[in-house]
């Protein structure tokens, strides 16, 4: 193909970037084939048609790419886990701490805090177990699953908690650091426990 008959570089780069590796060659080849055919008649029209196809394909390619990369699943699982952690926090952990504090023989504040974190860690471990159940693949080892799936989701959860801390006006940095570290630790413990307890034959 001569230089004059090359398709628009930017449009081609956009398609190359968005197409999944498996279909990239066929997709770009199809666009090239049509461009070459149109260019024999009118090169301007050919370039316009190439751009038109690229722009009309953008939403489809972007959504396809998103699904293929698993980002949608990652986002959904992260949001569900954050939701579960917060529901447990509000419905169970905080109520347990308040119940302890309201007792006539209420323990010291530090003990109440430890009890709150312990109850919250149990709920977070359940979220970790749920993540392992939904996302871990038996074809991978435990380490592979933790590195490829749990750690990215944990990072997403930690980032969400940090964002909530910043938006809600914060609170002591030490509290949030501890909360995030405990959350990640509890997620890992829950996931490992779920992996260990999984049925070996399905």
């Amino acid at each position: 193909m001569s230089q004059r008959r090359k398709p628009p570089i930017l449009a081609e780069a956009i398609v190359r970037w968005l197409a999944t590796p498996e279909h990239r060659d066929a997709l770009l080849g199809d666009l090239n084939e049509e461009f070459a055919l149109n260019a024999t008649r009118n090169r301007r029209y050919a370039a316009r048609a190439y751009w038109s196809q690229t722009l009309r394909s953008l939403p489809h390619l972007a959504l396809w790419r998103w699904n293929a990369s698993g980002w949608l699943a990652f986002t959904v699982v992260t949001c569900l886990a954050v939701g579960l952690i917060y529901v447990w926090d509000l419905a169970i952990a905080r109520r347990a701490a308040m119940w302890l504090a309201a007792r006539p023989d209420a323990p010291a504040l530090t003990t109440i805090r430890i009890a709150y974190f312990a109850v919250q860690a149990a709920g977070t471990a359940l979220a970790g177990a749920a993540i392992a159940r939904w996302t871990f693949r038996s074809a991978d080892s435990l380490t592979g699953n933790v590195v490829k799936r749990l750690l990215p989701i944990s990072a997403g959860i930690a980032a969400t908690l940090l964002a909530i801390a910043l938006v809600s006006g914060g609170g002591p940095l030490r509290y949030w650091t501890l909360k995030i570290l405990l959350t990640v630790a509890a997620l890992i413990v829950g996931a490992i426990a779920a992996w260990g307890l999984r049925p070996t034959q399905r």
Partner: protein, 109 residues
């Protein structure tokens, strides 16, 4: 592996039908042209390939590569054909439409 899935969408039916009509020459460009010339509907190449990938994931079509030409910038074509499951799903979809359309008073009154 095919999954038990929902009914075929309208565009999926068009793509499967075009592949059947084109027989051994069903690849991106010809499938698009077939749909456009038969239905008058303009098809975005991204929509077509996203649909083909989805159909392949459902086990309704299979593909093979071949036919790189200079006009394609040396890039190979990907030819599609229906699997047995694809043929069965398309047949069921067509029969459903036939039953649904049978006796419809479509003539102007």
């Amino acid at each position: 592996m095919s999954k038990p899935t929902r009914n075929l969408g309208e565009f999926e039916i068009l793509v499967l039908s075009a592949i059947v009509r084109l027989d051994d020459n069903a690849y991106g460009v010809t499938i698009r042209r077939e749909i456009e010339s038969t239905t008058g509907r303009s098809v975005a190449v991204g929509a077509l390939y996203a649909t083909l990938a989805r159909l392949a994931e459902k086990g309704l079509v299979s593909s093979r590569t071949g036919g790189a030409t200079d006009a394609r910038g040396g890039r190979s074509k990907r030819f599609y054909r229906l699997t047995a499951a694809g043929q069965s799903r398309l047949r069921n979809a067509v029969r459903s439409f036939e039953r649904m359309f049978n006796g419809l008073p479509l003539e102007p009154r």
